[in-house]
């Protein structure tokens, strides 16, 4: 009898063992398949990157010699396209634990620079010299990449191993992988002089500073007074908490468990602060729930309100966009910004965002952009955003225009039917401003805003205007 049970148990165990073994084998197979697919797509990105960079090296070398307009345009267009795809492929690869900020920047600026040059008719003076510098970097990058490629040649699944290292910090097994090639490239890329040109990605356009922010430094007490007046909270049962950024970070450091991290965080404060110092004030109502707080950010210099965020929930939508716009206009008047006109309103979820631009001498000044957010449940103002305005605003002289409205209109496509027109100052992607004529009209049933330079008669910008139930979008 005992023997019988023995055999039954044994065969059950054997069957179970086979079942588990088979299951494990299938799992392993599935996992390997997924890893292989990941490896393949990373390999694809890498091979595309090397091919992009090799082509780019050749194209830049041609840009050094191209001289007549047609060939120059062709070479620059290729440079723009190849640098762009190289940048996209580079960003897909897990090459280093740190982001490859310098290499990425080189490729993005190269694309942006080529695009900027494409807009000019003739070769500029600095162009030859700068392209020679860009070529040196392209050579360096391709040389290093070839070395890197060679080092990968007889490794099994190098990319998924690198991905694992970069994502989970694997140590022993992957330590010998040659990813530090890229730390080297990063260092070398940083040692080249800055590329000087006028595009949105140019270094001098990156860290924006206010053009003209005037007034004395204000104290915390004065900042609270500004908040009280701005939010119309006189006599309201609210508490104001000024959040000091350095104090907060020091407190955070004190709370850290690890003494090294604590020290490093304190030291890090000495690396410098934000480009524009502000007071952040938390406005807490005494008698309402915690979620219903506001934050207001006020510049230390001049005491200007940068932004306001009210964090309360909004349920329901009882106000139309028209009502919201009227509320926003009333609010702008109440804070003394009567010279601003609403330029559009857009609904998202249960809130409406109304955009305003300044008006001076009948010219609309789009760089002075302010946004006011209205809750659609009770019509309350729950947000304000004036960063663009504070950074762009300065004492502007409205310039005389060389062209009249009729002359500028000649630049337009003949079939474009103009409905309204006016003078407008618009911001360019480089942060500069330009005086234009704004034409609103339509062609083939689609609506547009076309901006024509009031001096040169060139079209500076075209925006598609799309109306839907959520408001008006300009694309």
């Amino acid at each position: 009898m005992r023997n019988k049970w023995y055999y039954i148990t044994l065969s059950a165990l054997v069957v179970a063992l086979f079942a588990v073994g088979y299951w494990g084998f299938q799992q392993q197979k599935d996992k390997n398949e997924i890893l292989l697919q990941r490896e393949n797509s990373l390999q694809q990105a890498f091979y595309e990157l090397t091919s992009d960079l090799q082509q780019l090296e050749v194209t830049i070398s041609k840009a050094m010699v191209a001289s007549t307009p047609m060939q120059r345009r062709e070479v620059l267009a290729n440079m723009w396209r190849q640098a762009n795809t190289a940048q996209q492929n580079l960003a897909k690869l897990p090459l280093s634990k740190e982001p490859l900020v310098n290499t990425q920047k080189y490729l993005n600026q190269l694309a942006d620079y080529s695009f900027t040059l494409l807009k000019g008719e003739r070769k500029s003076d600095s162009e030859s010299k700068q392209i020679a510098g860009l070529y040196k970097r392209a050579r360096l990058l391709t040389d290093q990449l070839m070395k890197f490629e060679a080092s990968l040649a007889d490794r099994e699944y190098p990319w998924i191993k690198m991905a694992a290292k970069e994502e989970r910090n694997f140590s022993s097994a992957t330590r010998k992988l040659p990813t530090n090639t890229f730390s080297e490239i990063e260092d070398q890329m940083q040692q080249f002089p800055q590329l000087v040109y006028d595009g949105p990605f140019a270094d001098e356009n990156l860290l924006k500073k206010p053009r003209q922010l005037e007034g004395p430094e204000i104290t915390e007490g004065q900042a609270i007074a500004v908040a009280k007046k701005f939010l119309n909270l006189q006599g309201q049962p609210v508490r104001y908490k000024v959040i000091d950024r350095e104090e907060q970070i020091k407190e955070m450091a004190d709370d850290l468990q690890n003494p090294d991290s604590r020290e490093r965080l304190r030291r890090q404060l000495k690396n410098g602060g934000p480009p524009l110092e502000t007071y952040l004030i938390n406005v807490i109502p005494h008698n309402r729930e915690v979620g219903n707080q506001s934050y207001i950010s006020i510049t230390k210099k001049g005491g200007r309100v940068m932004w306001v965020v009210n964090t309360r929930n909004i349920d329901g939508r009882y106000f139309s966009l028209q009502d919201a716009q009227a509320k926003a206009v009333k609010f702008m008047d109440s804070i003394g910004m009567e010279n601003f006109k609403p330029t559009g309103v857009l609904r998202t979820l249960n809130q409406a965002v109304v955009s305003f631009a300044a008006i001076k001498d009948n010219v609309i000044i789009y760089p002075d952009l302010v946004k006011v957010k209205v809750a659609l449940d009770n019509g309350e103002i729950i947000g304000y955003e004036a960063r663009n305005y504070i950074f762009a605003n300065h004492d502007r002289e409205i310039p005389e225009t060389k062209l009249s409205l009729e002359e500028a209109q000649k630049a337009l496509e003949p079939n474009f039917k103009v409905k309204t027109s006016r003078k407008a100052i618009i911001p360019l992607s480089t942060g500069k401003e330009v005086m234009t004529y704004e034409f609103y009209g339509s062609i083939n049933g689609l609506n547009y805003l076309v901006y024509v330079n009031a001096d040169t008669g060139q079209e500076e910008k075209i925006l598609r205007v799309v109306k839907n139930e959520d408001g008006v979008l300009t694309i």
């Binding site: 890090q268 964090t311 028209q322 609309i364 008006v472």
Partner: protein, 234 residues
Amino acid sequence: MKRKRWVVLSIFLCVLIVSGISYFSQEETTETLGERTLTIGTRGWDVRQLQRRLDNLGIYPGPVDGIYGPRTAAAVRRFQRSRGLVVDGVAGPRTISALLNANAARPAVAGNWSAVRNQDDVRLLARIIHGEARGEPYIGQVAIAAVVLNRVEHPSFPNTIPGVIFQPGAFSAVSDGQIWLTPDASAKRAANDALNGWDPTGGALYYWNPATATSSWIWSRSIWFKIGKHVFGR
């Protein structure tokens, strides 16, 4: 057997005819909204219009069927409360005219120089906010999305929102799959605020949690603000 089948078939036909009669006998009136006072039990084209308008306002969860039921009355009551009207759940001339005004004309057109609002971008931003900063203060959530958008505008990073978010190793919520949790209302709202230009970080490109950060490189950045668990800098 044959007999049974006939019985079943004839019962089925009877039911069909009766229900057809009762369906078509519910004739809908054709008044337009505002011609009469609407209350529970009223049926008609104008009730349909009322329901559609309440639906547009986002306060009517029921079907647009032309039948003034309790859900329609509840929505009307909510609307009346918001507008300071008498809250009785009956759509009289005052309520209807307020409702017609609420859905009135659109504001004038002009260039407002805002970024394109692509619904995919909003969704993806909401996901990264939810994955990275669930339970953080609201402005901390807006700040996460602002960092993504600041990266899009900076040459050291990819130039699209998906490019920035899926860059290998850039966000831990992408590496560990938390980005695929369903974002809550707060994350969606924060994503919209960031796309509309609100940036509590003043232009930051990085954020990290000093309690858990492992990269030595991150300590070389300048540090601007602390919001919730994260510090923001460049």
